[in-house]
Each structure stands twice: as structure tokens, then as C-alpha cells.
């Protein structure tokens, strides 16, 4: 019988090294195995975070390498929290976040429920529906810019066809009132399929036996929906909301392509504003404080949400 590889390795290990390895505890060996990962984590995640926090208390500007860097205490934080423009940006982000999530959950769940009904060709429909989320946000932003063009855009012509309004009489991305809805519409178009897929997974995970038992108890479809379908899909739905919430909180590429943050600052979301502070105004210290505030906000909200998610799962 031939030797197994581990025995070959053990035999070929020099006796001195073998002795020192034998003397290691299980805990030490575990540390040796996980230390590269910990080192990588520290280098890529923790160190930049600590460095960002440190910079947030300074007036450092990366484009002024020769300038003196002063410790400014909490001045950057105070300026951010009292700046009405930044609060307007936060409001724009909240508006975008709330409406995209509400629409995506409603439409995504409805689509998932429809697709979950057994009908001919539902695989093809599923494929067609998920196509938008496979596209690059830059591509989506660009072609929706064309769709929204008042003179040549298909969107305006469709609205014109339905409502009778002159297609050149409104500009979805040039009007202060319409632009926030224009970006919500595009994000909803693109990411509803993602919510739909998660909901579909939830719907398909519900055993048929539960519905059969409910039918034996003469429960109506409506009752089955509210007492079986919704509670059992809820953890999946909450997961989708978490993913979309985090993604949309840091939304950048799609909006930059569509509106550039305009008109005015109407669609300037926090990620766009942060990028401008960091890489256009080059106020590195200020931008670091901004990033820390956003990090704490997202981390805090996500932690509360995950706790709620776990409670729903246990329930």
C-alpha cells in the first residue's frame, strides 16, 4: 500500500523543523493559518479606515504636498453637520433611497409572484426581465440619457403618445422637479429584477405542503397570501432591501452619467458630493470626515437592520 501525501510530507520534513512544529499548540497553528488573511484585512480595510479617521481631524489636502498639515479637531465634522448644502444632498439621497426601494420591492415582488405562477414560457420571461441588471451602469446611464432627450428621445415620445403633451415641452433630466424622478425610474428599471430574483427564491422555498394544509383548513387565497406567502418571503425581501439600500446609498456611476448631479444640485447624492470634495476640491481632511460620517450612518443603520432581519427570521 502506497503512502498518503501527508505521510510523505511528514517524512520529508527536517527533524529540527518537525520538532518545533510538534511543540506548537492547536491555537498557534490556527493563528499561523489565519494570519495572512488578518494581515490582508488590516492592510486593505482597517488601516485605510484608521488613516481616514486620523485625516478627518486635519486640514490635509492631497494636492498641497508642501503645505503644513494642522490638527483642526472636530472642525470638519462641525462644518459638515451645519452645512445646508450637505443636508440638501442627504435629503436628495434619502428621497432616492426611499422611493427606489419602495418601487423595487413592490414591482419586484409582484413580478416574482407572477413568474412563480406556472405558465408557459416563464423561463423566457425571467430571462428578459433580468436583462437590465446585467448591463453596466455606465451603459444604462448613457442610453437613458438618449431616451430622455426631449427632441429625439423615445421616452418623451411615449409620454407624448399617452398624454398628448408636446415631447419637447418637458425635459426629464433638465427639470428640477422631474430629474429626481428620472433617476429613480432608471434605477428601478435596472434593479427591480434583482429584487425579483431574491423574492422568487423566497417564493420557491415555501413548501407546497403548507399551502395544501391551508387549503384543507379552507383558507382563502387572500389569507394564504398574508399568512403564509408574505411572512415566509419577508426575510428574503428584507435581505433585498438591505442590499439595495447599501448599494443606493453609495450610488454614483448611474447618476453621474444621467444628470451629473444636476440640474443645480437636485440629483447630487452623497457619493457624488463626497467625490467632488475629495477629488475635485481636494479637501482631503474634510472629505475624510464626510466619509466617516457616511460610514457610521450606513454601518449603524445596517447593524440595526440586520438585527431586525434576524428577529424576523427567528419569528
Amino acid at each position: 500500500m502506497s503512502e498518503i501525501p501527508i505521510e510523505r510530507i511528514a517524512k520529508s520534513t527536517p527533524p529540527a523543523m518537525a520538532r518545533s512544529i510538534r511543540s506548537l499548540s492547536d491555537r498557534a497553528i490556527a493563528w499561523i493559518f489565519i494570519s495572512p488573511t488578518i494581515f490582508l484585512l488590516l492592510a486593505v480595510n482597517i488601516f485605510p479606515l484608521v488613516w481616514t479617521i486620523r485625516l478627518s481631524f486635519t486640514n490635509y489636502r492631497v494636492n498641497r504636498p508642501n503645505a503644513e498639515v494642522d490638527w483642526v479637531g472636530t472642525q470638519n465634522y462641525e462644518r459638515i453637520l451645519t452645512d445646508p448644502d450637505i443636508w440638501a444632498t442627504m435629503q436628495a439621497t434619502a428621497h432616492f433611497l426611499v422611493w427606489t426601494i419602495v418601487l423595487q420591492v413592490l414591482i419586484g415582488f409582484t413580478l416574482a409572484w407572477l413568474i412563480n405562477q406556472k405558465f408557459k414560457g416563464n423561463d423566457i420571461w425571467t430571462t428578459i426581465i433580468v436583462l437590465p441588471m446585467m448591463l453596466s451602469p455606465a451603459v444604462v446611464g448613457n442610453f437613458w440619457t438618449f431616451l430622455y432627450q426631449p427632441q429625439i428621445g423615445l421616452f418623451n415620445y411615449v409620454v407624448s403618445f399617452v398624454t398628448g403633451a408636446n415631447p419637447t415641452s418637458f425635459s426629464m433630466i433638465g427639470d428640477v422637479d422631474l430629474a429626481p424622478w428620472a433617476i429613480i425610474l432608471v434605477d428601478t428599471w435596472m434593479w427591480t429584477p434583482f429584487v425579483m430574483l431574491i423574492c422568487l427564491a423566497g417564493l420557491r422555498s415555501i413548501p407546497d405542503s403548507i399551502y395544501e394544509a391551508a387549503e384543507c383548513d379552507r383558507a382563502s387565497n387572500w389569507r394564504q397570501f398574508w399568512t403564509i406567502t408574505v411572512p415566509m418571503v419577508l426575510p428574503f425581501l428584507m435581505l433585498a432591501v438591505l442590499f439595495r439600500g447599501i448599494e443606493n446609498f453609495k450610488m454614483f456611476d448611474l447618476i453621474v452619467q444621467l444628470t451629473g448631479g444636476g440640474p443645480g444640485n437636485t440629483t447630487t447624492l452623497t457619493a457624488i458630493d463626497l467625490k467632488r470634495e475629495a477629488f475635485e476640491r481636494w479637501r482631503t481632511g474634510f472629505a475624510s470626515a464626510y466619509a466617516v460620517i457616511l460610514f457610521v450612518t450606513v454601518f449603524g443603520l445596517a447593524s440595526i437592520y440586520v438585527k431586525a432581519l434576524n428577529m424576523v427570521k427567528q419569528h
Partner: protein, 447 residues
């Protein structure tokens, strides 16, 4: 005058001979280098690639090019400079970067090099020297060689302007001939006249103007009106004293004019337009006039749909308080982090030669060398050459301070917010701008 011209020509040829000899000597002794020149991705960059092949032949160096589209140009290149990157040996950077790049040590100061090689800044159009090369402004400290003269001007559909029925209608409506506008008020009338008009079965619009939000677009547009209505960046005797200058009564009227022009006479959906969108609108026959930098004129002239005699060019019209136009264009600098500094300097010396500059103009690059633009046959060499000269004579530029990006973004925010988004009043927009600028200058320790 003739003697001066002769002297000037003699001096030009003498300098040219010295530079040629220097380059040839350098080519004979130095090793061949790989040089990378960074610039924006636009038509003149293609002309520069063509022009630079002569440099490669003469010196044996290899030229590589890194061209970035305008909307990302500043982001990409300033990141490169700020990180001490070695991608670019030569940078044709925007005029407003000069202060920051000089003070942060990104560019090599060229005074000694110019002295050694007989390159005299007096040989270049003065506005381009101040705009593209000097820091601090109006001091003989040079960080770039003027490379591409540019200025905002206007292109118009001469074929439409000449139509007898339109001329008659315009005459009847406005009591004057439909022609090149002398003033901004006249320009507005013409734009209004064409707005929504059916021409050859297509609805056309008055004018394409700069409204872009993300980079510098609306600032480069609105300043053409603000300057002419009395806007000043600051007190001429105390430059960082801006209250009452940047938000003067005239400046407010100018900003109101720009918003009115945007509201009355631009194509629907033009809320975020800059150079390329304006070109597209003009070439596709959507607008009667377009505001744009002069660099587009060779392309317009050669265009199948609107080129040749169908288009004309005119400088930015005067306003009630003056006659100015926004300076564009760039200087070429040597990046201090380059490992091939000598070869990069060699390129600058080669590029400064009058015959190279003449060729540069022929290929579509706007030379800033006086020997080229002041030569007797220059004005007639292209249909837009005289307009270029007239425009370059009236230029003004945005701040070029190290904090220019802060200053620019504040103006982009405030102006776009008023002109396009329609928030608040012009007075509030400019008062807000003054507050922003004061805060920036205070942060910079300049006030």
C-alpha cells in the same frame, strides 16, 4: 513698421536656427527616450500626433500619447500629478492649473531653459503667456510654453442668415438686418428669432450655450456674458477683495441675461451641455448659433452638413460694460516627476520653432506664436482666422490660483443652480458665490 517686421523675422529665423542646431546636436548625443504627452482627447490632439512624427524623425525619441476626454481630463490628470505619477513626461494642462501645479512642484520651471535656448515669451501672444505660462500672474516666471491658443467664440449658420425670407421677417420684426450680432442683446434677438422655427421641415432652435454642471462648462459659458456686463473677479488693486466686484449690479444683470438666454432660446434638454453637445447640436442642424471654443472651427469648416460657406464665425459680442471673451487653451509643461526630463525639454524646444508652429496651425492647432498669427497672410489663411485673432485680443481668464478647483466648483454650483435649476435670484447666486470665494481665500490665508 516694415523695419520692425524685418527685425522680427530675422530674430525669428535666428532663434529657429539656434533651436534646430540645439535639437540636432542633442539628437546626435543623447539616447532615444520614450516620451508620453498627456492632453485632452479632442481634434487638436490628433493634429499634434501628426505633427509630433516630425519630432520623432528628427530626434529618434518615441512619442506616446495619453488623451483623456474633456469631462474626465482634469480629474484624471490632476490625480496623476498629485500622486507624483510618472505617466506623463509632458503635460498640456489647462490654463487654470498653472498656479497649483507650480506651487506643488508638479511642473518644471522653464525660465533657465528658455534663456539657454533663446525662447522669448515676447514672441508669443501676450494673453497666452499670462494665461498659460506665468505663475504668479504678471511675473516673469514661466512654467509652460503656450501650446494651443483658444478662446470662446460663436459659430452661426450663414446659409440660414442669408435666406431672403428670413432676412425680410427679421428686418420687419427687429428693425435691422439679420447679420452677425455686435452686441449680446442683438445675439439674444437672433436666437429668439430662430427658436422653434421650421427650417427645411425641421424645428430648429436659437443657440447652443454652455450649461454643463460636472466640470467647468457653465462657468466657461456664463463668463462670456458676465465680463461684458461688468463682472470682475476682484478689486484690480486688491485682487482678493471680491465683494462688490463679482456680485456687482452689472454682474447680476449679466447672470440674468444668461438665464434668460437659456430659457428663451436654447434647445429643449440642453441643461447639461458643453463642447461636444454643442458641436452635435450645430452639426445636426438643430441650432442657428453655437457658443464654443475656437478649436472646433476647423472641424465645422470641414463638415459635410454645415461646413464651407454654410457657416460663419464671430467673436463673443460686446455687452453694456465691455467686450471680452473667455480664454481657453493650454500651455505645454514638463512634469517634474518625469525620468526623461531632458528629452521632454527637447520636445518643448522643438515645438517652439516657428516652422513647427506654422505647421501646427496648418494641421488645425491654434499656434500662439506671434510670428505665425501676425504674418500678413494669416488672417486670410482660413475663414475663421480673423475671428480667432479678434477673439484673442479680448480674452479674460478664470482664477488660476492653487485653489482654482474650489473656486471653479463653487461657481459651477451657484451658477448652474440659478441658470438651469432656476433656484433663487441672480443676486442671491452671486452673493453666495462671493461668500464661497471669501471662505476659500480665507482658508488659503489670502485674506
Amino acid at each position: 513698421m516694415k523695419i520692425w517686421e524685418e527685425l522680427n523675422m530675422n530674430r525669428t529665423f535666428a532663434v529657429s536656427a539656434v533651436l534646430s542646431a540645439t535639437i540636432m546636436t542633442a539628437a546626435g548625443t543623447a539616447h532615444a527616450d520614450d516620451l508620453t504627452l498627456c492632453w485632452a482627447a479632442w481634434d487638436p490632439a490628433n493634429a499634434l500626433v501628426e505633427l509630433s512624427s516630425d519630432f520623432e524623425e528628427e530626434t529618434g525619441h518615441t512619442m506616446n500619447f495619453e488623451f483623456v476626454p474633456w469631462p474626465n481630463f482634469a480629474d484624471r490628470m490632476l490625480n496623476e500629478l498629485n500622486s507624483g505619477g510618472q505617466l506623463c513626461d509632458l503635460m498640456i494642462g489647462d490654463s487654470q492649473w498653472i498656479g497649483g501645479a507650480a506651487e506643488a512642484g508638479h511642473y518644471v520651471q522653464l525660465n533657465d531653459f528658455f534663456d539657454t535656448h533663446g525662447i522669448d515669451m515676447g514672441d508669443f501672444i501676450p494673453a497666452t503667456v499670462t494665461g498659460y505660462a506665468e505663475w504668479p500672474k504678471n511675473t516673469p516666471n514661466y512654467w509652460a510654453l503656450p501650446a494651443f491658443g483658444d478662446v470662446v467664440g460663436w459659430t452661426y449658420r450663414r446659409d440660414w442668415f442669408r435666406r431672403p425670407e428670413l432676412q425680410a421677417e427679421f428686418q420687419e420684426t427687429y428693425g435691422r438686418e439679420l447679420g452677425v450680432p455686435e452686441t449680446l442683446a442683438e445675439l439674444r434677438d437672433i436666437a429668439e428669432f430662430f427658436q422653434g422655427r421650421e427650417i427645411d421641415g425641421t424645428t430648429v432652435y436659437g443657440a447652443a450655450i454652455y450649461t454643463e454642471r460636472g466640470s467647468e462648462g457653465i462657468t466657461m459659458g456664463v463668463t462670456n456674458v458676465l465680463y461684458n456686463y461688468g463682472f470682475q473677479y476682484g478689486n484690480p488693486d486688491s485682487p482678493y477683495e471680491i465683494e462688490g466686484f463679482a456680485n456687482s449690479e452689472g454682474a447680476v444683470a449679466g447672470l440674468e441675461f444668461y438665464r434668460d438666454l437659456y430659457e428663451c432660446c436654447t434647445p429643449p434638454g440642453s441643461s447639461d451641455w458643453y463642447m461636444s453637445e454643442n458641436i452635435d447640436a450645430y452639426r445636426s442642424g438643430q441650432v442657428a448659433m453655437q457658443m464654443n471654443f475656437a478649436f472646433i472651427w476647423p472641424g465645422v469648416h470641414a463638415d459635410e452638413n454645415v461646413g464651407g460657406d454654410r457657416s460663419g464665425y464671430f467673436p463673443n459680442p460686446a455687452g453694456p460694460e465691455g467686450h471680452y471673451a473667455q480664454l481657453g487653451g493650454q500651455g505645454i509643461s514638463v512634469v517634474s516627476y518625469s525620468d526623461s526630463r531632458d528629452a521632454a525639454l527637447e520636445y518643448i524646444a522643438w515645438f517652439a520653432q516657428p516652422e513647427v508652429q506654422e505647421q501646427w496651425w496648418k494641421l488645425g492647432g491654434y499656434s500662439a506664436l506671434r510670428a505665425v498669427v501676425e504674418s500678413p497672410d494669416f488672417a486670410g489663411s482660413q475663414p475663421y482666422a480673423q475671428t480667432f485673432l479678434d477673439s484673442m485680443a479680448i480674452v479674460r481668464d478664470f482664477w488660476a490660483e492653487p485653489a482654482y478647483a474650489d473656486l471653479l466648483l463653487a461657481m459651477q454650483d451657484r451658477v448652474h443652480n440659478y441658470v438651469v435649476a432656476g433656484n433663487g435670484t441672480a443676486q442671491q447666486a452671486l452673493d453666495g458665490l462671493v461668500d464661497d470665494w471669501v471662505e476659500i481665500f480665507e482658508d488659503e490665508g489670502l485674506r
